[in-house]
């Protein structure tokens, strides 16, 4: 019984972690390059809607998934134009996107689906596939552990890839440098604007993917409240993980695990689900107080950079 529950718990963790993780990885790019992106929430929402709408139109989940990412990237571009080219206050621009993108998502939904703020359900054949599904018998421990949506594995691989990019490539070194000392980078001939543009657009793309995962895998339908708060949780995960992709992974796994506990506990227990739902947030605060301590924010984070003329 215990083993079976453990298997279910791991499965639940792996179900709830990927969207947070994808968005958090995006946030890493943006924040490390020196651009605060609080618009992650909105970018996830538009990704969620476009993903669902695309799946309903073309029927291919992978195309829908990618297009959801691109929708997020579009708002990433908007954020980059404001923050990088126009040196706008990054918090203000992000707040604007958190109104614009979800507003547009529901607006389009109503315009396309006869005034309904929900899309029709995404049929199982249009959903992202699960892998390693039939290797072990249904209900067994290993089946529970391994039977996850393919994107769950993809997001784990992505952590490794992005870690490699951050710490082992020239681009990664530059993006970290740009977030610390853009003026110094500029004098060395690094194009600060270009790197920040790439990073902010990437952050939108990854957030869009995270949103699309939710409508194409777990919820299989777009609703206005389908994202609610997950973008902010992803930002929290990045701060928690000290602005490192590997740190964000651990933080997201913790959030995903707590969410898994919550879902399993509410389905079986008599304790108020609302009290159980508080656990992830209280655990985060406690973990910060007891173990993690101060996260060092990239030095140029939030500060607009203007190239000297």
């Amino acid at each position: 019984m215990f083993v079976r529950n453990l298997g279910l718990l791991i499965n639940a963790t792996m179900t709830y972690t990927p969207p947070l993780l994808l968005a958090a990885l995006g946030s890493c790019f943006s924040e490390r390059s020196g651009v605060v992106n609080i618009g992650i929430e909105g970018m996830m929402t538009i990704g969620a809607f476009v993903g669902a709408a695309m799946a309903l139109t073309c029927g291919n989940p992978w195309i829908a998934f990618l297009v959801g990412g691109l929708a997020g990237a579009l708002f990433g571009l908007l954020h980059a134009i404001a923050c990088v080219s126009f040196q706008a206050d990054q918090t203000i621009s992000g707040t604007a996107i958190n109104f614009l993108a979800p507003g547009l998502a529901v607006f389009l939904c109503k315009a396309i689906y006869d005034g309904s703020s929900d899309t029709p359900a995404v049929d199982i054949s249009m959903k992202l596939p699960k892998v390693f599904n039939d290797i072990f018998p249904v209900g067994s421990f290993w089946n529970n552990v391994l039977s996850n949506y393919s994107v769950a594995y993809l997001s784990l691989v992505l952590v490794a890839v992005i870690w490699f990019v951050f710490y082992k490539t020239k681009f990664g070194m530059r993006l970290r440098a740009v977030g610390e000392a853009p003026e110094a980078c500029d004098t060395l001939g690094i194009n600060v604007y270009k790197i920040r543009y790439i990073c902010v657009i990437l952050s939108g793309f990854l957030a869009g993917l995270g949103g699309a995962y939710i409508t194409l895998a777990t919820v299989s339908q777009f609703r206005p409240i389908v994202i609610v708060g997950q973008g902010f949780m992803a930002i929290a995960a990045v701060i928690f993980g000290k602005f490192k992709p590997q740190g964000a992974l651990l933080a997201c796994l913790l959030f995903g695990f707590c969410n898994g506990v919550k879902v399993l506990a509410t389905s079986s227990n008599t304790v108020s689900p609302n009290l159980i739902s508080m656990i992830p947030y209280i655990v985060t605060i406690l973990a910060l107080v007891l173990f993690v301590g101060t996260a060092r924010v990239p030095a140029a984070n939030g500060k607009p950079f203007q190239k000297a003329k």
Partner: protein
């Protein structure tokens, strides 16, 4: 030479307009409505009809105007909360949670304490302010003592407040009898409603005087920021923490004070919503957004307390008008899109400012040359 010119031009009215924020805010609002109109037309909805409904639905009858104002009051307060935090160098993204614990405190006092209205209403407001203030102060302590990023803890505290509210709503002693997932109604003595029947005839039965709380709070905050030593210290820390410390101001202490006041304002916003509009707390299915709307109000009001009153009234009217858009088959989300566009253009407005200023600067120079 250029210095004297700048001084000269600053004294004239036109230059004042060009240097201030108001002109650019108004331009941004205009752009917001234009973008909204384009989207509406693209979706096959008449923008004229939708905007017409927005105007007649908010200004058409005294009753409608009153409703717009009632909608505005809590957002003015959360807006003030965020604006105050901006002025003091902290980003209060936690107004949402402080607002929620504010409604909770006001609701509990409003349901269970039996005192005359003269005492009950202020008592609820104080309870809400204390709850919001304490909620925010915990985050401040975590920031000051343990160096924990306040944006992170605010987000966590928003969610803790959210589930705490849902938990309290479902406690049998608090839960209303009969159907519906909500608390009992607050006692009549705790409601901020206009009771005079002759006034109700004109203003409608939903008329609340909660706006006076919001306006009074804005005036007090403006006074604190601009006319007191406390305000000076808070702004000094917000402007440059290290310089303030060098000048003998204890930055940590001021940050804690600022965040507590900011939280108290958001908490009072919760009380105003509960006692002027809601009368009970319903179970949440998603965050209500008053805190995030407060961010918008603070930005449209250029983080100026008095500006927040007008920005809040504007947002309140838009929010109330938005509820009527379904009558002309227009999605109410157009309000979010318009608001988002406005903030986006406010974010980049300094570019237009620079352009306009350099343009008029050139003109002034050439005029000077011809003289």
């Amino acid at each position: 030479m250029s210095n004297t010119k700048a001084k000269d031009s600053k004294s004239s009215f036109g230059a004042k307009v060009l240097h201030g924020n108001l002109l650019y805010t108004l331009i941004s609002i205009a752009v917001g409505f234009i973008v909204g109109a384009i989207l509406l037309q693209a979706a096959g909805i008449s923008a004229g009809e939708a905007y017409g409904k927005l105007i007649t639905g908010t200004l058409g009858k005294p009753k409608f105007i009153v409703w717009s104002i009632v909608y505005a009051s809590p957002i003015i307060l959360t807006g003030l909360s965020v604006a105050f935090s901006f002025q003091t160098g902290v980003f209060n993204i936690g107004a949402e949670g402080q607002y929620v614990v504010g409604t909770l405190a006001a609701c509990i006092v409003g349901v269970f304490v039996k005192v005359p209205a003269v005492i009950h209403v202020p008592l609820c407001l104080i309870a809400a302010a204390l709850a919001g203030g304490l909620w925010s102060m915990v985050v401040a302590v975590l920031k000051v003592k343990r160096g924990i990023n306040e944006v992170l803890s605010f987000i966590m505290f928003n969610w803790i407040a959210y589930y705490l509210s849902n938990y309290i709503v479902n406690i049998p002693a608090v839960h209303k009898e009969g159907n519906g997932e909500a608390t009992k109604d607050i006692l009549d003595s705790a409601k901020m409603l206009v009771t005079s029947e002759s006034l109700q005839d004109v203003l409608g039965s939903g008329a609340s005087y909660n706006i006076f709380v919001a306006v009074l709070a804005a005036i007090v905050i403006a006074f604190i920021l601009n006319r007191t030593t406390l305000g000076y210290k808070l702004k000094a820390v917000g402007f440059n923490r290290h310089a303030a410390e060098y000048g003998g101001i204890s930055a940590n202490k001021e940050i804690m004070t600022a965040m507590s006041i900011s939280g108290a304002l958001a908490g009072m916003g919760g009380a105003c919503q509960l006692m002027g509009m809601g009368m009970r707390i319903s179970q949440f299915s998603s965050q209500e957004g008053f805190g995030f709307q407060g961010i918008t109000v603070a930005l449209i009001g250029s983080t100026n307390p008095i500006g927040c009153i007008f920005a809040g009234l504007f947002y309140g009217a838009m929010k109330y008008g938005g509820t009527k858009l379904s009558l002309v088959n227009a999605p109410s989300e157009i309000v979010d899109i318009i608001m988002g566009t406005i903030i986006f253009f406010i974010a980049i407005s300094h570019v237009f400012k620079r352009l306009l200023l350099s343009h008029t600067g050139k003109k002034a120079k050439s005029e000077g040359g011809t003289k």
